[in-house]
């Protein structure tokens, strides 16, 4: 069923520069989509349109049948969530960092009864021991920071996870752990930009941005 996200972008631009035209796509549940293309073709711009972080386009994007622009941005971003290349964690212990979103609008009135359990499960998936919860963020390595950042976003229980080059600064081993836990355990849809060859074979669909067009392989490997 392909009704999670319907993208109909007539023109994607950056300032006056047109990046791509006529992007028409449908995205279903549990899809694993990789966006590829040379630098400057608009991969990040496209990814950012999906959670209202970029408005430089003409056209319409529907999420569960409703235009993105009709959602409260905070509500939408908790459901279509982005993790960036360099995760900003802030100061404090890992526990405090994971709890940061609880103070935000989108997480009020959310049922938190199994939150603790979920945290432990995610830590385990990402090969981190529960002892990390008491660690200060300043003591974490780059790979650990990126994993904590991902866990923090996954705790929002997003329907769609947007990943922008999250493994580009990581070593092979950490990158492998991250891809294993996302592909093995995350139940939602993933749309990602990645240059990591380790990740490439695991996608079931690619979108190639080339010469101002988007070529969708339609989910065939």
């Amino acid at each position: 069923m392909k009704n999670l996200l319907q993208i109909d972008i007539k023109r994607l631009h950056y300032g006056d520069k047109t990046l791509a035209r006529d992007i028409k796509l449908e995205v279903g549940h549990k899809e694993r989509i990789l966006i590829v293309g040379a630098t400057g073709t608009g991969k990040s711009s496209l990814l950012n349109t999906l959670n209202l972080m970029n408005q430089s386009y003409e056209g319409q994007i529907l999420f569960e049948g409703r235009p993105l622009t009709e959602y409260h941005p905070h509500e939408l971003r908790a459901r279509i969530s982005m993790v960036m290349q360099e995760t900003f964690l802030g100061v404090g212990t890992v526990q405090e960092i994971l709890d940061e979103p609880l103070a935000y609008c989108a997480q009020r009135n959310v049922d938190l009864s199994d939150r603790k359990e979920l945290i432990y499960r995610l830590l385990e998936n990402f090969k981190l021991s529960p002892d990390y919860l008491g660690q200060k963020s300043s003591q974490l390595s780059g790979g650990e920071k990126q994993r904590i950042g991902l866990i923090r976003t996954l705790l929002l229980r997003p329907d769609i996870l947007l990943l922008d080059e999250i493994s580009s600064a990581l070593d092979q081993k950490t990158s492998g752990i991250i891809s294993d836990s996302i592909f093995g355990h995350y139940p939602g849809t993933v749309i990602a930009i990645s240059h990591d060859p380790l990740w490439h074979e695991r996608w079931n669909r690619t979108w190639r941005l080339e010469g101002g067009k988007l070529i969708d392989n339609g989910g065939v490997k």
Binding site: N51, L52, M53, Q55, T69, H72, P73, H74, E75, R77, A78, S81, M82, V83, M84, E86, T87, F88, G90, E100, P101, A103, Y104, C105, A106, Q107, R152, T153, L156
Partner: protein, 256 residues
């Protein structure tokens, strides 16, 4: 005790020392010193004459008009000092300064000083001048700190809104920091008052012949008013700045 014009002129002799030091060190400040001092002499002389006239007239509309000139000058001084987002600053600063003035001044005049008549320019103008001057400096500082707080860490802001923060929650950390750094110097200054230096207004009153006991009461009143007005100004300025700086998707408008 009045000082003679010759006395004032003799005061100028003291400036020989900075001129000599600048020449000795070849610091290019002599020209600026000359310009600044000349401007100060000219402006104060004109204002002195003007205030003498204003105080004698005791006309409510003239007092109000002069307050308007003061606030406009303050607005454009801040605008000239800030080098970012200039298109949106004007309404922000204007509203902030008007708001704090409208809240603080009536309280000071009606409840505390009670001049007769209420609009007596001899009280209204100096008191408003002190309140406005401090609000102006604080407002410039808080806006500058807030914008640079955002600019230093857009990544943190985008992370917060990516995690489900609304606009207000997204800007709250730099807002807090900006307000803190704009108000803390004033608080420290207040805490050392009387021991380190006698504040300008009090010094003026004492030199002008008022009893120190009267002078401290005025000084306390003015400190309460200044701090209150500065905080109100800063708060209103940033709240409005946020509304103008971001769009409905919480994304910054214009340059980052």
């Amino acid at each position: 005790m009045d000082i003679s014009y010759l006395g004032v002129a003799l005061g100028l002799v003291l400036l020989l020392y900075p001129f000599l030091i600048f020449a000795h060190l070849k610091i290019k400040l002599s020209r600026q010193l000359f310009i600044s001092i000349s401007r100060m002499i000219l402006q104060l002389s004109l204002v002195g004459i003007w205030l003498e006239f204003l105080f004698n007239q005791k006309l409510w509309w003239l007092t109000l008009l002069w307050m308007l000139v003061m606030i406009l000058t303050a607005i454009f001084t801040i605008k000239g000092r800030l080098r970012f987002q200039r298109k949106i600053l004007l309404p922000v600063i204007t509203t902030a300064l008007f708001t704090s003035g409208i809240i603080v001044m009536p309280w000071v005049l009606i409840m505390i000083v009670k001049p007769q008549p209420l609009y007596d320019p001899m009280y209204v103008i100096p008191i408003y001048g002190m309140i406005l001057g401090n609000s102006m400096n604080s407002c410039a500082l808080v806006l500058e700190r807030f914008e640079s707080g955002l600019a230093d860490n857009w990544q943190a802001y985008f992370t917060r809104i990516s995690l489900g923060a609304n606009l207000w929650e997204g800007v709250l950390p730099p807002f807090r920091k900006a307000l803190h750094s704009a108000l803390l110097p004033q608080l420290l200054n207040t805490a050392s008052m009387g021991l380190v230096s006698l504040p300008g207004m009090m010094t003026g009153q004492i030199l002008g012949g008022a009893s120190p006991l009267v002078a401290i009461k005025y000084q306390m009143m003015i400190m309460f008013a200044i701090f209150s007005a500065a905080t109100i100004t800063d708060y209103v300025a940033i709240r409005l700045y946020i509304v103008k700086r971001f769009d409905k998707y919480y994304l910054p408008k214009g340059e980052r």
